[in-house]
Assembly symmetry: C2
Homo-oligomer: 335 residues x 2
Amino acid sequence: MDRLRAGDIGERGLIELIWGLVDRQLLGEPAENPLPHPDDASALLLPGGRFLVLKTDMFVRRTDAPRGMRHYQMGRKSVVMCASDLAAKGAKPHAFMHSMGVPPSYPSGGVLDLVRGLLSACKEYGVAFLGGDLGESKDLVVAGFMVGFADRIVRRSGASPGDLLAVTGHFGETASALEILLKGRSAPPPLRRRLLRSVYQPRARVDLGVALAGTGAVTSSMDSSDGLAFTLHELARSSGVRFVIYKVPVSRAAEEFASIHGIPAEELALYGGEEYEFVLTIKPEAYDRAQAAAERCGNSLLPIGRVEEGRGVFLSDGTLERPIEAKGWEHLSCP
Amino acid sequence: MDRLRAGDIGERGLIELIWGLVDRQLLGEPAENPLPHPDDASALLLPGGRFLVLKTDMFVRRTDAPRGMRHYQMGRKSVVMCASDLAAKGAKPHAFMHSMGVPPSYPSGGVLDLVRGLLSACKEYGVAFLGGDLGESKDLVVAGFMVGFADRIVRRSGASPGDLLAVTGHFGETASALEILLKGRSAPPPLRRRLLRSVYQPRARVDLGVALAGTGAVTSSMDSSDGLAFTLHELARSSGVRFVIYKVPVSRAAEEFASIHGIPAEELALYGGEEYEFVLTIKPEAYDRAQAAAERCGNSLLPIGRVEEGRGVFLSDGTLERPIEAKGWEHLSCP
């Protein structure tokens, strides 16, 4: 096994092998370890009962920057990636650091623009910038580290049969944008601009995540950056339940793009990625309270299905159910 | 300026340009920002008066692993780098995360050995392992992120005239090891092994740093990973004082190596790097208390000089003083 190349095992396989090496002693007592692997962030219980929530995510220019993405946008995205995961767990982002690797031949203006973007996102989300480390590497690499605080955290694993399943937005724009960037598909200029904005300028729903967690109505939550289908599967699996979806939340722009090219819009919505919405399960009796909290943030929850006993994720048309595949983006996959 | 390559500006120059972009608002109130740039780690004041101390450091195989370093040792070092900086600030390391970039063609066994080393160091220092992110990059890259807690933190900037200057060990072994690895110099096998161990298996003086800070005797402190001379200059500059050194603390092994090759041992001790000792200034009336704390950790403080009014770092033979150059290792430097 050790002789295989990383790419033969893939990102998720390698992560599981790594966790297989971890001595449980290194995770602290269960009481101190409120967001265990494979949750989206980690947490430490502080004296007084608050949680420190921690997240790291790495942005590598060569693999993570879609063609045409500007340095400023890369910097913003490296903050968005962390902030979204913290907010999905109910934590208010507080401070950001980074380790950055830069090739010696890299234009310094690009590095500084990246930092300008990163600082702009920190300011937008009310996050203190603490600096970090700068070194030399072959790629432009930004490893972001964010910490936040939460009075109440939301795990991947809390969904129960009877809960409602909801999302915080519509999907399919990033997948459409990648069809434009990677496959050269066309779109009328205003549509093209809108779709490309989804990959170049993602936003984290920070206030919304914190407000929803604060209601106590949310039983499980995850950000959808790995793609809607994959996220649904992860939530269902972590909670040991079955999701029945009665409506795939497709964005209007993705529908328009899909109809131009005669491709299924639901596929774009389900099997994309890098969309920073939340997928949540909510106690039915508290749904209105969660919806009211979302509206106070200028958002709204879209109910898309229900939680049942069982396993897997299914799309129902009212009569027939068909399974939704657990596909999603994976790093380190050899074709 | 923006058109220059990163390597033309260098690591420290680029860091200063980055901090020039930072809006002071992004650093929080001064009261919340107890370890401002350019200190070795960052800190947040928690309710109740404790400090959360945070550090990130990036290990890139191509530039940071000396020839012959094993993956297990790389993993250990990526933990040591962070733990040493936290301890130099008086913080007890508590939890570690990493973002790791792996080339798809990289042998998975190497990645897993690196993780084994990293976990072994976490265990040794009593640090919880929280996992992190895994992605794809051209280099093997480990961005470590460590948080710790402190009741009292020690800055770079607290030295006053009259304080004593001390270190926690002898220097010059890593510089000697690099003479062997990079310049092909020879040494008898037992000496060679000892010198190479200094670069392959560095250790962080975690308990010692926490114990020294706990005495309240330490007025400023920094780990010596950037080299002894550079560290002395940074401490003196941050505190706005002058250091007079009356003894360069050269390790016996480095002296032996220097005498074999007819090179000045003091140069090896002053201008090396990656040695994880502490350089500290100590209130003279509390020196014995600090020494007793060090001895309880199985260490001892070596007094090497004194703090005076003025600027710069000087070596004194009792009569004459000569300046010590502010040389040290720098990433991203084009020759």
